[in-house]
């Protein structure tokens, strides 16, 4: 009788201790499982976020609106995109601009358009879309723009002509034209009073195109009588205003596509400009379209 009761006491104590340890272990397991489940949830949310982020797409035009930068943002995707930052060179304007699905929205900024060589917008999902001026210039160059996509599709130069109120000041847009060569010679008149565009004698233009690099180095040779300026925004190249002969040597990636803008200002003297691009071709010509 005594022997049997003794065995019972040990069993109870052993069972209680076992149950306690088991309960502690299970509690730990439960806590770990919950914590792991929360981690999996966060990873799943992150995957969804990354999917949305990858789907974002914008077509941008950087335009001049009374000397200020106007960004025209087109959203071809089926989801709304929120732009939180607009950068012009190294200056930023923050805000919240919603671009609804399948629409195009103008974004007026306080950023100066003059001297802008590279612009970009940043979305709330952390995408960065960059581009160059659709119409490039400074000191009051105005006019409406052509989107980068249009220029790519065109595979030619989009040229905007202006009347100048003073040297390099592009005041009034006179008209447009298109050039289809990467080796062009513009020469018109010999004297300062020879008209260049209709009756106008003091004339300037900005010409923009997109070129694909054919080698690791692209050369742009120029021969000009007052003045020309060449800008390759993706490469951070801006020659400033030049006269006479010269060249730009740009280190590029073969197959890389680059925006090229040429500004020309004729104030006095014979108007001429010769440009020759080496190791470069129009984008759509290379595609054979």
């Amino acid at each position: 009788m005594i022997r049997g009761r003794r065995r019972g006491v040990s069993t109870v104590i052993g069972a209680v201790i076992f149950l306690l340890i088991f309960a502690v272990a299970m509690t730990a397991m439960l806590a770990w499982a919950q914590s792991y489940a929360s981690y999996v949830d966060v990873v799943r949310e992150d995957q969804e976020f990354q999917n949305l982020r990858m789907m974002e797409e914008l077509s941008l035009s950087f335009l001049n609106s009374s000397g200020k930068l106007l960004v025209e943002a087109g959203n071809p995707t089926p989801r709304m995109i929120i732009i939180t930052q607009v950068w012009s060179n190294h200056t930023v304007q923050t805000g919240e601009w919603a671009v609804p699905a399948k629409t195009r929205v103008p974004i007026n900024t306080d950023l100066s358009y003059a001297g802008m060589t590279a612009s970009k917008v940043v979305t709330s999902r952390g995408n960065l879309f960059s581009g160059a001026q659709s119409t490039t210039g400074e000191d009051g160059i105005g006019g409406t723009g052509l989107s980068i996509i249009d220029i790519i599709e065109a595979g030619r130069w989009y040229v905007q002509w202006y009347n100048l109120s003073s040297r390099r000041v592009f005041d009034m847009k006179l008209g447009e034209s298109y050039w289809e060569t990467t080796s062009l010679t513009f020469q018109w008149g010999a004297a300062s009073n020879d008209p260049v565009f209709g009756p106008y004698t003091k004339v300037g233009f900005n010409a923009t195109t997109r070129l694909v690099a054919l080698n690791t180095t692209m050369y742009i040779n120029y021969y000009v009588n007052e003045d020309c300026r060449i800008i390759l925004p993706e490469l951070g190249i801006d020659t400033g205003w030049n006269n006479g002969t010269g060249y730009v040597e740009a280190s590029v990636s073969p197959g890389g596509i680059y925006t090229v803008t040429v500004l020309y200002s004729r104030w006095t003297g014979a108007p001429f400009l010769t440009l020759n691009f080496v190791n470069a071709d129009f984008v759509n010509l290379l595609k054979g379209t």
């Binding site: 201790i17 981690y39 939180t84 951070g236």
Partner: protein, 142 residues
């Protein structure tokens, strides 16, 4: 009689020994599981924050003379505050004035410097690293 006492004593001793070992085992296992749970929770919290951390470099300025100064505009588009603790230029760690804390949806300039110059016009990699080990790298022309 003496046999009866020794049996009681033996039983009591056995109960005391079993209880002591059991309690010791219980206390040890409680501490072990508690410590493990706590450590796992901490690891999980770090992992969650690491996944939630999202940032990118939106703009970069490199000024090179006798030494080089690099400024990177870092945008935090995640849901957690990030701390940028290190910046590298072409793999060389730059000296940061202090770690930069950036709230969700905000951006800030992170400035670093190195006593070595870089050649003008060269393409450099600028990398920023957060306190949780996430990195973002951007290529920039000096």
């Amino acid at each position: 009689m003496s046999r009866g006492i020794s049996e009681i004593v033996a039983t009591l001793m056995m109960i005391v020994i079993v209880s002591s070992i059991g309690i010791a085992l219980f206390v040890y296992s409680t501490g072990y599981f508690s410590g493990t749970t706590s450590a796992m929770g901490e690891v999980n919290r770090l992992n969650v924050n690491t996944v939630r951390e999202r940032f990118l470099i939106v703009d970069t300025l490199v000024r090179s003379g006798a030494s080089t100064e690099v400024s990177a505009a870092v945008y935090n588009y995640g849901r957690t505050t990030i701390t940028i603790e290190a910046m590298f230029l072409n793999g060389t760690r730059l000296t940061l004035s202090w770690p930069v804390e950036i709230m969700p949806g905000e951006w800030a300039w992170v400035n670093g410097s190195t006593p070595f110059p870089v050649s003008s016009g060269s393409i450099c990699s600028v990398r920023v690293a957060s306190s949780l080990g996430n990195v973002y790298e951007a290529m920039v022309r000096t």
